[in-house]
């Protein structure tokens, strides 16, 4: 797995994890069935509250043969490692992500010979999507879905603007897949009318496996005319290296340091079955019709790592949630300048709940923060605003604040009929015959679980004096082997 160490890519990140946090990277060398067994391992790790990066070395591909590719999952499952990727801390990683992505860096074009992703080039009948170790993770899934694919489009008409987003690919045939492009996504809204009018297909690239900062950079929330390759450079802290594609050359540049690049064309009208599959809300998403991608070429590293996302676990939570935390923080800061931090907990799939921590200086700020946060993303549904003494990374402490600092008659904000997502099982559909993304609404709201602003009095929270807490180390009172043996409570 050697690579040029100066370039930020997946290899360099894994090397850094191995050096700094070796206990957070594990390899499974025994044979593992891609059909459910791999997911069982990841779900059991989740339940044990352990979130290492896992590399499965011995998997059976969908073609029935042993996969030539190892599979890496849980890249984002540890918040600590996400923080390392963005040179931040566990507490501030969402806010630092936001700051980094606002410092865009123009991509650096490199020759194909200097691009690791060009070490293997397959075209025409040599292309076979079934050669990838695509898992069948949950019991009702009827097909193989590539989850770690950053689908990218380019607009060459007004400058050169790349749009990127994680979108699923359901493998239909060796050279054909459906792509989870939905209404409202930049990749699709920008081009749908144009490709349907001209009858020309839409060039599209799906890249898999990169430094986690680059992957999270693909999830930034910027206007449609902002070049997202430059934003990814901001997230990385250095320009994204790109290289000409096999199909369109310099007109469509692809990430040079990705593990795998899939190049394809979306025909204007064709739709295919985007099969029943798991989604981030931990339910199944029904089969839908989605655009088809006809694959033209696949390029990859000689020893490419297939990156998969563990749906239904912390992996997908952090990937979607951390980029959103910074956006919420920025929006709330305009309404409540003393906002301290934002966390999207796994208990809300890192999409539905947001915990907003503020230093309260005047009455009404809790409600202001709720309203400001709700407008940031259609998936956000419940906002809990707490004081700065509450640890927003601890669900129990946030709920304690709700229990002791909120009142249902005065501190609740409910906004009916806001735009929702199809993936909220409680959303109600409009009477529109077309059940598009925009057709779903739901009531949203928040709880102001803050204390009254000074100088209003409130109860005083119990605490052991800080200096005593600092000095008291459990190992000085209980033998460490005995301490280790005490079971974790539920």
């Amino acid at each position: 797995m050697g690579t040029r160490t100066e370039v930020k890519d997946l290899r360099r990140f894994l090397a850094e994890v191995k050096r700094r946090f070796p206990e957070e990277l594990v390899r499974v060398k025994r044979p593992v069935d891609l059909r459910f067994e791999m997911s069982a391992v990841l779900v059991k790790l989740d339940r044990a509250h352990k979130f290492p990066i896992v590399i499965f070395d011995n998997l059976q591909a969908a073609s029935g043969k042993s996969s030539a590719f190892p599979l890496l999952s849980n890249l984002f499952a540890s918040r600590n490692l996400c923080a390392m990727a963005l040179e931040s801390s566990v507490e501030r990683v969402g806010l630092d992500y936001d700051l980094r992505t606002q410092s865009a860096k123009t991509p650096l074009v490199v020759a194909k010979k200097n691009a690791p992703v060009k070490q293997v080039v397959k075209k025409g009948n040599d292309v076979n999507l079934f050669n990838f170790p695509v898992p069948l993770p949950y019991h009702m899934e009827g097909g193989r879905t590539i989850l770690g694919s950053v689908v990218t489009t380019v607009d060459n008409q007004a400058g050169t603007t790349y749009n990127c987003a994680y979108q699923t690919l359901r493998v239909l045939e060796p050279r054909k897949a459906t792509v989870g492009l939905g209404e409202g996504t930049h990749n699709w809204e920008r081009y749908r009318e144009r490709v349907e009018k001209t009858g020309e297909g839409l060039p599209v690239v799906a890249w898999i496996g990169h430094h986690p900062a680059a992957c999270m950079g693909a999830l930034t929330r910027v206007p449609i005319d902002v070049d997202e390759y430059s934003v990814i450079g901001g997230a990385l802290g250095e320009p994204l290296r790109v290289t000409p594609s096999e199909t369109w050359g310099e007109k469509f540049l692809v990430p040079a340091d990705a593990e795998i690049v899939i190049e394809g064309i979306i025909p204007p009208k064709e739709r295919g079955r985007h099969g029943l599959r798991a989604d981030y809300a931990r339910y199944y998403s029904p089969e839908t019709l989605r655009p088809v991608i006809n694959v033209q070429a696949i390029t990859c590293r000689r020893d490419a790592i297939y990156h998969d996302i563990h749906l239904g676990g912390r992996d997908q939570d952090h990937l979607g949630g951390i980029p959103l935390e910074g956006s919420i923080y920025r929006a709330v800061k305009q309404a409540v300048p003393t906002v301290k931090n934002v966390h999207l907990p796994s208990s809300g799939c890192s999409r539905f709940h947001a915990y907003v921590q503020i230093k309260k200086t005047s009455a009404g700020q809790g409600r202001e923060a709720i309203v400001a946060a709700l407008s940031v993303d259609r998936r956000l549904k419940h906002i809990v605003v707490v004081d700065e003494d509450i640890n927003i990374f601890d669900d129990a402490e946030v709920l304690w604040a709700v229990a002791t600092r909120s009142r249902w008659d005065r501190d609740l904000v409910v906004v009916p009929n806001m735009i929702s997502t199809t993936r909220d099982p409680t959303a109600y559909a409009s009477s529109s015959p077309e059940l598009a993304y925009h057709s779903y609404t739901v009531a949203k709201g928040g709880i102001d679980a803050t204390m009254p602003a000074p100088p209003e009095p409130f109860e005083i929270r119990i605490k052991v004096p800080d200096d005593v807490m600092r000095k008291a180390e459990l190992k000085d009172y209980i033998r460490s082997d005995a301490l280790t043996k005490i079971p974790l409570d539920a």
Binding site: E141, G142, L289, A429, L435
Partner: protein
């Protein structure tokens, strides 16, 4: 759930989810368990969600 309806496969009796879009466009359901494709009206059971309001 507003975005899904439940059907039962006439081939293997397994229950699974179908988008209402498929019924509206008269697209066959495809069973994820046995891969049988069948018109939705041939399902052994169909449970449709309320299109306007989820009752709970």
């Amino acid at each position: 759930m507003a975005s899904s309806m439940r059907v039962v496969c006439p081939g293997c009796d397994q229950e699974f989810l179908v988008s209402p879009q498929f019924e509206r466009l008269k697209i066959a359901a495809k069973c994820p368990f046995c891969e049988k494709e069948f018109p939705i009206e041939q399902s052994k059971k169909i449970v449709r969600p309320s299109p306007i309001l989820l009752v709970k």
